[in-house]
């Protein structure tokens, strides 16, 4: 070894000290990550949510650092925010349902029907678009939905008008963006399901639908829930896709964004930002009971 250190060298002595004291090693290992994630990141989050209880002076635009619940009262009392929250949750739920419906047959085909060789290629085919830029994929759907776009070109000859930009386009685009996040967990879950169980169901006389309902679906549920965490939370916080294909529609993310940018009202933006966080925490706590988190 070229860099052998003499037994008494300071590096060697330090190494020996570390070796004898595991807790010193642990402290050294944890110091930097915890400094970054706890002090910098959690600190920022805490400061943000503290700011949710402050207000902005209407005249000077200065932040008034005095504890009050005004922002949350406004969120609760103004029906527009309730509507936007419900709309965002509805969009996230619709995206999750669509993704499950599209992903399940694909994942099942990949896991149970395709040959091992085809399986490998299908996994790559499903994964590759994940590396393509988020923005590019949203832009692709802007082209698809545009007035002189691909969907109109396909649908117009049938006398149907494309939906154009709006909430349906947002749901489709978000479902497209997060589809691989649903396919992969279900695929992994179904791959673990032994074929013998399906054979047994068939031997006992179950038809396709009954096998699905009583054997496949119960096994796949944790995987579907694991996928839904991605599709749901990623949709809930989104504001870029809505801007690109959503026309004038607004989701929670847009309200946060507008309050930071145009209105320059950080306290209110912080209060609005608690909504998706609280919804996700409730969702995760509910999901934890199903054991789906072990599938992540």
């Amino acid at each position: 070894m070229s860099t052998t250190v003499t037994p008494g060298g300071p590096v060697r002595r330090f190494a020996g000290l570390l070796h004898r004291r595991p807790y010193l090693r642990l402290a050294a290992l944890l110091s930097a990550p915890l400094l970054w994630l706890v002090v910098a990141y959690l600190g920022s989050l805490a400061a943000l949510f503290a700011a949710a209880f402050w207000t902005t002076d209407d005249f000077t635009g200065e932040v008034v650092k005095q504890f009050n619940l005004g922002n949350f009262q406004e969120l609760w009392n103004q029906s527009v925010y309730r509507t936007i929250t419900l709309r965002s949750v509805g969009v996230a739920a619709a995206v999750t349902v669509i993704d499950t419906a599209v992903a399940f047959p694909m994942a099942f085909y990949m896991a149970k029907i395709a040959s091992p060789r085809a399986q490998r290629w299908l996994v790559i085919a499903v994964l590759t678009p994940l590396w393509a830029s988020y923005l590019v994929k949203a832009y692709a759907w802007r082209i698809m939905f545009s007035g002189s776009g691909v969907l109109s070109w396909i649908l117009d000859p049938f006398g149907i008008h494309g939906p154009g930009y709006g909430l349906p386009a947002t749901i489709v685009t978000l479902a497209y963006l997060w589809l691989p996040y649903m396919i992969l967990p279900i695929y992994a879950g179904l791959e673990r399901l032994p074929n013998s169980l399906l054979d047994a169901a068939g031997d006992l006389g179950a038809r396709t639908f009954r096998t699905f309902r009583t054997v496949i679906w119960p096994v796949a549920v944790p995987a579907v829930i694991a996928g839904s965490i991605f599709t749901f939370s990623l949709s809930l916080g989104d504001y870029i896709t809505v801007k690109i294909v959503g026309g004038k529609s607004q989701l929670i993310g847009n309200v946060v964004y507008d309050n930071i940018g145009a209105a320059d009202n950080l306290p209110f933006a912080a209060a609005v930002a608690t909504i998706p966080v609280v919804i996700m925490v409730i969702y995760l706590v509910a999901v934890r009971r199903t054991g789906a988190l072990d599938n992540l």
Partner: protein, 268 residues
Amino acid sequence: MTLSRGARVALRIGMIIGLAVIYVPLFVVLVNSFNADKAFAWPPSHLTGHWWSTAWGNGGVRTALWTSVKAGLGATLVALVLGTMAAFAVQRYRFFGRDTVSLLVILPIALPGIVTGIALNNAFRTVLSPLGIQLGLFTVVVGHATFCVVTIFNNVLARLRRLGTRVEEASADLGADTFQTFRYVTFPLLRSALLAGGLLSFALSFDEIIVTTFTAGAGVQTLPIWIFNNLFRPNQAPIVNVVAAALIVLSVVPVYLAQRVSGDTRGL
């Protein structure tokens, strides 16, 4: 397996339609980058390679691309160090709050990007601005590194779990000290996991727009920010098309590299 013929056919059709839905929009972007019409119209009347050379010569695109590369490399470097340290701590030691560390590492990517974005924006403006550090490339790197740590952490954690501690004990028995063991034994065994995690981390950073929006300040444009800023300008559409198409083509590179590195695409 006994599936009725009808079910098999239906599943096969589902698979084909699914893949078509995934790839048709990407294909449309590719074709559209050769669209001779400046105003978007489908199907294109003529095809031209003109926009590709225009985009190549576009200074804004080049600067943005370079900024994105710098931000991605910086964030990945920080994430490599922090993620590896955290993974060692969690995998090799039992201590109070160990599960919390794992949760903490995942948090920045689990929370909506806009929450992370405005939290960091607020912190940077109150803490760093008085010190004379303005929003810019540095704050972008800090923001990106925060959510990139998880990719390295997961990869290294999985590798350490598989390795066990026997080789390191053997190395110590042969007289190597802690640093030598890491340098000559552990690190070479971790290398492919670090590469896979680093690749993912770079890709995450390269693609990120929400946290970037809030940490970049006015003067710094990463490629996604450039695209977003030019997306709604009709006269820039041809160049946006080319950039989008180029990014789709480039997305094959990490998939190929990931295959080479680990022989396994499920490094996510």
